[in-house]
Amino acid sequence: MIPQYKALLAFLIITAAATATFLWVTRNTANKERLNPEAVSKLRSRFAITCALLLIAALALTLPHLPYPRGSEIPDKVVFVAAKQFAFGLSEAPIASDAQWEAASQGPAVRIPANRLVEFRVTSLDVNHGFGVYSPGGTLLAQTQAMPGYVNRLRLRLQNPGRYPVLCLELCGMEHHSMRGIFEVFATGKE
């Protein structure tokens, strides 16, 4: 199951539990009773502790999976990415000028070996853009921002060969929706 569906499922389960609790409480509002403050306080404490433990567990489970690069890993390949209204230039050589960006954005797709650690060094030559990597089937796999003056390093290990589109995920102007880039993942051993 893709991470998006796992997150959706978790959301739906917790939401269903919360909604059911609300419905149960709202169906039990008619008969006036004096509540025992100690019992309410005890229940509240249990609820708060349960919530806190769930949050701590979620932190412990998810923080080891931060998408930021670790210095201990050395990428097998580096791809330089420069974003500019309204295309991504991807190249195996650094992109520092508009001319290089134009050549990179209009040239053939960069080729990346499957199952190898690739580092995308992403920057922008004008405004903020979002470097969103999609699978050939249209699922968002990962992303980082393309910000002027900064280089964001996104590391990926892509297993399936194919042409991977890149969409801009930060509003960057009137043609934001049509801004894109592309790269190709090939099965190792073919090249």
Binding site: F11, K32, L66, Y68, H177
Partner: protein, 491 residues
């Protein structure tokens, strides 16, 4: 706890009249913004193939700013009114804020609708300076002038409410620090505590907004080379807090109104004071989840962002939400349209909050950031949360001021239609996020064409929502106008 009816006895006719005007203004802006929202979803559903995308982005900018502005002002008006039970805020400052808000909204409307200025509500640096032929420099200037006017007048109103609170309560007392030290007296109403927390934080947000505007001017005039990451931090510090605090002001109204329907008090206990002081601290760091995908931010900052965002939900869940449910459980709760809206508002807050916590997980944000999941969660706690809470207040007050106590027979149906339209519309956002559909796209590329059909379905639900709103708000607007006339005659 006194009933909401007694609130009117403390309010002057001028305050009542102003509050009704604020209600009318917020409702009018809300309807305009919802219509713009319908246009956006229809556009994404390819309903206007001949219209240039530039109109989508300018409408998107206006939609967001009007919606946030309308309910920030609506919740401020509600809090201002209810605070008059305890302190004396200035009606003149509120009137000034209203004038400034109208001017600001007009300028932003001119900039977006005539000037085609379409950079999103957050005008992320340096995009406004890179029009690429889409808008003229005058549109940028008018937009920033409108924002500056809003910031100045809103800040004046915020500071005046803080001044009014400070005349009766010291800051430490208003924040309940004596209760945290174990004292029982003097009592501080939750409304005062939550409003103080909210307004202190809003002040920081508006200062950040002013700084962003100043840095834009310095950069645009060539007098400084401004750092994009700093600007993004400041922008989201301001933007996230304004939206977050609008919600908390709605919750302040909840704390004041709900006890009247339940017939039980809701006092500032040690736990309530602790929870809202924790909010005061955590909310300043929660904005960092907007920058998870800026890998240049230090790793520890991102960890702080996730931790703060997670634990910001704890006081809300364990104190305010649990407290609401405990308050109404077996209380002989009085169900009216207003009280139904309040309870539905709490549920919307919870559902939006759950989605927010999911998205505040860095590992999940990698695949949800700037997809439709993001508008899904904030539309939930906004549209189905704070909007319902503030509408509950306006509904209740307008009935009280006009003496029309009973709900119309169709109230239940109207609310059902509103919830069906609202949650149906939101479901398409959630589904869109889970299927990788990007947000803020005028049209969808071939990889995410599922977004087109989702947008069409969402638009159908928005039509249902609008139908419910038109019926409900037109009746309430008529009541507000009657109340306004009565208050004017009384003064």
């Amino acid at each position: 706890m006194s009933s909401p009816t007694s609130a009117s006895s403390a309010a002057t006719p001028r305050l009542r009249r102003n509050t009704m005007l604020w209600a009318l203004l917020a409702m009018a802006l809300f309807l305009v913004s919802t219509l713009l929202g319908l246009f956006l979803r229809l556009f994404q559903g390819n309903s206007f193939p001949a219209v240039e995308p530039v109109w989508f982005y300018s409408a998107l900018t206006l939609h967001a700013l009007i919606m946030v502005g309308a309910w920030f002002l609506g919740s401020m008006a509600g809090v201002h009114y209810l605070l008059s039970r305890y302190v004396r805020p200035s009606s003149a400052i509120s009137e000034l804020a209203m004038g400034g808000s109208v001017v600001g909204v007009v300028l932003i409307s001119i900039s977006t609708l005539l000037g085609k200025f379409g950079v999103g509500w957050y005008f992320l640096f340096p995009l406004p300076l890179y029009p690429n032929g889409a808008w003229s420099p005058w549109a940028t200037i008018v937009f920033f002038a409108g924002l500056a006017i809003l910031a100045v007048f809103w800040l004046a109103w915020v500071l005046d409410l803080l001044r009014a609170i400070a005349r009766r309560y010291s800051l430490s007392m208003a924040l309940g620090w004596h209760i945290l030290r174990g004292a029982k007296e003097p009592e501080v109403p939750p409304l005062v505590l939550i409003t103080t927390v909210s307004l202190v934080v809003v002040t920081a947000a508006l200062v950040a907004a002013a700084l962003v505007l100043a840095l834009f001017v310095l950069h645009g005039s060539g007098r400084a080379n401004v750092d994009a990451l700093l600007m993004k931090n400041l922008t989201f510090l301001f933007g996230h807090i304004i939206v977050n605090i609008t919600l908390y002001l709605g919750v302040a109204i909840l704390y004041e109104l709900l006890p009247a329907f339940a017939g039980r008090p809701w006092k500032t206990s040690w736990l309530v004071a602790f929870a809202w002081n924790a909010v005061l601290l955590l909310v300043l760091f929660a904005y960092l989840h907007h920058l998870y995908m800026d890998f240049a931010q230090p790793r520890w900052v991102q960890v702080v962002g996730q931790t703060a965002s997670y634990f910001l939900s704890l006081p809300a869940a364990a104190v305010s939400v649990f407290g609401s449910l405990a308050l109404i459980y077996r209380s002989g709760f009085r169900w009216t349209m207003a009280s139904r809206l309040l309870v539905c508002g709490v549920l919307g807050w919870v559902i939006g909050g759950i989605a927010a916590v999911v998205d505040a997980t860095v590992a999940v944000n990698s695949v949800f950031h700037n997809t439709l999941w993001v508008p899904a969660h904030f539309h939930t706690y906004y549209l189905m949360g704070v909007v319902l809470m503030v509408l509950a207040f306006f509904d209740h007050l307008s009935r009280e001021l006009t003496g029309s106590d009973t709900d119309v027979p169709a109230a239940g149906w109207i609310l059902s239609l509103l919830l069906l339209g609202g949650y149906g519309f939101l479901a398409m956002f959630y589904y869109g996020g889970a299927t990788s559909v990007p947000r803020r796209f005028a049209t969808y590329p071939e990889e995410t064409l599922q977004g087109v059909i989702q947008a069409r379905v969402a638009a159908a639900f928005v039509v249902l929502l609008l139908a419910a709103l038109v019926i409900y708000l037109s009746r309430m607007a008529a009541r507000c106008l009657r109340a306004f006339a009565l208050c004017r005659n009384a003064s």
